[in-house]
């Protein structure tokens, strides 16, 4: 039996407000006015629009030439303000998040949860005891109103407005996302979670996430995302900035499962100060096209980065993913593990940067790329860039490409597994380093998702 993408349903929800389609300064001003923002933020938005218009589409990476920027709705909201209890969330929207298992998983293993529906956050909640410790976990719009000093100090410091075409687009239209501040020395034992859902057709979702982990603090943030299946494209262009102050530890996990009509073009970047550790765990299962390269600037002595990027590309999908590490300080170390699977005509690309700047003595970088290509229709490429300006930098790069051997397949079939089940099993095993980092229920869910992806994409032999 073939199972289809189970999150492809859409809700019959009429937004309270929907901006006119297409790029325009008027819409940008309108969003800013609706949000009653200070002028400096409106200026950032306008500058973002200007830079977006000026910058050409990237000439490298995935094919983005089919995106019709004037067919996109850049802002739609379905609720007035974020609710702090699921009871206050509009019924149909609540039902959707229930169908996605969000409230249930919140009860089971999260310290706080945010849920975004199209442009706006509809729900945000953090456990009272954590709030009492001074932890801030809220939607980014609320943060701008309620914590303006903290916000202004860090916003745009890791990803400048004009960093790239899509960070500029995000600056212009940003709405929602998570804002997290962990005070000095506070360690959050359970992860914080955010769930992003697109419902409108031709929607553009531009959430903006800012995480500040103060000295000696610790936090794990997990985000998931899904969207309805439409025949026309949707666009997701988020920006995530992480500031890990001295000796802080931040892990940011993404399980991206967009429907196959979503362009997912995300800029994720962290600054790790002295002795800090930033971990990006980036799982890309869905979307039509993804371009995403989680980055860490190792800015303080002894800072560390650990990046795990995992991608699965089936028919019609291109996962252009990878990682970047920029070593700016001495004694810094980083590890990148990229694992990709392509099948049914899908394509994966690894694009990476390993850079050691002058003065970053004794830097250590380890990069490992493993690609699993399941059939001859599918494709995998690797584009690594290494720039080392210090002679004592130790940079290792290892890459492998494999397939499922005939013997492996026969072995599994002779145990009663069908071709698809056998392939799913091998892929799950290949992605085990990702599963290992997740709470157990999430890991089981991941394996179920992998199996579903493989079944819906693969004709049973």
């Amino acid at each position: 039996m073939k199972q289809k993408y189970p999150y492809g349903f859409h809700d019959d929800v009429t937004p309270l407000y929907r901006a006119n389609k297409g790029l325009s300064e008027a819409v940008v001003r309108e969003i800013s006015a609706i949000k009653q923002e200070p002028q400096w933020m409106r200026d950032i938005r306008l500058r973002g629009l200007e830079l977006f218009t000026k910058k050409p589409l990237p000439m490298w990476g995935a094919d983005l030439s089919h995106i019709d920027f004037n067919a996109i709705t850049y802002y739609a909201r379905s609720s007035d303000k974020p609710a702090h209890s699921w009871k206050q969330v509009p019924k149909k929207i609540k039902a959707t998040f229930e169908r996605l298992g969000v409230p249930e998983s919140e009860r089971k293993f999260f310290a706080g949860v945010g849920a975004q529906y199209d442009s706006e956050t509809v729900y945000h909640h953090i456990r009272k005891d954590l709030e009492a410790q001074g932890i801030i976990f809220t939607d980014t719009d609320t943060a701008l109103r309620e914590h303006p000093d903290l916000f202004k100090k860090y916003f745009g410091t890791v990803v400048p407005i004009g960093d790239n075409k899509f960070s500029a687009l995000n600056a212009a239209y940003w709405s929602g996302g998570s804002f997290i501040y962990i005070p000095k020395g506070v360690k959050v034992a359970l992860p914080l979670q955010a769930y992003f859902r697109i419902n409108e057709k031709n929607m553009g979702q531009f959430e903006r996430t800012l995480i500040i982990a103060d000295e000696d603090s610790e936090v794990h943030y997990i985000e998931g995302c899904t969207a309805p299946v439409y025949t026309t494209d949707a666009l997701h262009a988020a920006v995530v900035e992480i500031i890990a102050k001295p000796r802080a530890r931040v892990r940011y996990t993404t399980i991206q499962n967009w429907s196959s009509n979503v362009y997912n073009l995300v800029t994720k970047r962290a600054r790790a100060e002295e002795g800090a550790l930033v971990e990006w765990v980036d799982g890309n299962l869905g979307s039509k096209t993804t371009m995403k390269y989680p980055t860490v600037f190792l800015a303080g002595r002894g800072a560390r980065a650990d990046i795990l990027s995992v991608s699965l590309a089936g028919k019609g999908q291109h996962q252009e993913t990878g990682a970047k590490v920029v070593h700016l300080a001495p004694e810094t170390s980083s590890s990148i593990v990229a694992k990709s699977v392509s099948f049914g005509g899908g394509r994966t690309s690894y694009r990476g940067l390993a850079q050691v700047a002058r003065g970053a003595r004794n830097a250590r970088i380890k990069v490992r790329c493993d690609a699993l290509v399941l059939d001859t229709k599918s494709r995998s490429d690797t584009y690594p860039t290494i720039k080392a300006e210090e002679h004592d930098a130790l940079v290792e790069h290892e890459a492998t490409v494999s397939n499922i051997s005939e013997q492996e397949l026969f072995y599994l079939k002779s145990h009663g597994f069908s071709e698809t089940e056998a392939a799913s099993l091998v892929v799950s095993g290949f992605f085990e380093p990702l599963a290992k980092t997740l709470p157990i229920d999430y890991a089981i869910e991941l394996n179920r998702l992998i199996q579903m992806e493989m079944e819906s994409n693969r004709p049973t032999a």
């Binding site: 005939e406 026969f410 079939k413 002779s414 145990h415 009663g416 597994f417 091998v426 799950s428 085990e432």
Partner: protein, 240 residues
């Protein structure tokens, strides 16, 4: 369950690797299959499970009287034919314990729980500790450990017909004795078996009802237990 191999000829790499081979395995019977390296033992097993590189050009394979030649490998497996591999591949990142559980569920005749309990018992008997169950399937296992892993998979499937391709190779004596007892018990509960081995030791605790010698893809002689002794003493060349 009964397996009838009827006048079977198998071609692999455009060579006849099995020629006009016939054999009947009935419920609960233990058949020993011996023969020199490259005589067609593994090819026979591969053909019975429908390996795509092994083409049956003549003859038939019947399970409970019905031909299985048109069935896919997994369909044959699900009907209750199990093959223990001579060289099982590694399945990286898939822990033994969850693999065994999945296999047990696929073949569930009883509640998977009961199967898992039996597996745990067997694991202990053959000295396959819990630490192995946390490891990936066959990954970094020694030759003997891989064979133990195969035995546990046999227990997970609990098949009607089992083909063991050198399950004893590289296994230490104590574990081998335990293994042989497990096989004997399974046969007494109805599993028909074909045990391929170069050494008579496994048959000490798991006495075969029939012994067959294969050479150049053909069954050259058959007999009872006495044939084992003869092979051990005189070697294949003289026996054949």
């Amino acid at each position: 369950m009964s397996l009838i191999i009827k006048n079977l000829t198998v071609v692999a790499d455009s060579k006849e690797v099995v020629k006009s081979f016939s054999l009947t395995i009935k419920r609960g019977e233990i058949h020993a299959l011996m023969g020199p390296n490259g005589s067609g033992k593994t090819s026979l097993c591969s053909a019975i499970l429908g390996h795509p590189s092994y083409r049956v050009t003549n003859g038939d394979i019947l399970l409970n009287g019905k031909s299985i030649l048109a069935l896919r490998t997994e369909e044959r497996a699900r009907l209750g034919i199990f093959l223990s591999f001579q060289e099982p591949p590694e399945i990286r990142g898939v822990p033994m314990s969850s693999f065994l559980r999945t296999v047990a569920k696929t073949h569930a005749k009883e509640k998977a729980q009961g199967t898992m309990k039996r597996i745990a018992e067997y694991a202990e008997a053959i000295g396959f500790g819990e630490r192995f169950l946390d490891r990936s399937v066959n990954e970094g296992f020694s030759g003997g450990e891989k064979k133990k892993s195969e035995l546990l998979q046999f227990a997970a499937v609990n098949p009607g017909i089992a083909l063991f391709d050198e399950i004893d190779a590289g296994v230490d004596v104590d574990s081998l004795n335990a293994m042989a007892r497990i096989l004997k018990k399974a046969a007494s509960q109805g599993t028909g078996m074909l045990i391929i081995s170069h050494s008579a030791r496994i048959f000490k605790y798991c006495a075969p009802d029939f012994v067959h010698i294969i050479n150049h893809g053909t069954r050259v002689t058959s007999g009872k237990k006495a044939l084992l002794k003869k092979v051990e003493k005189e070697g294949y060349r003289k026996t054949v």
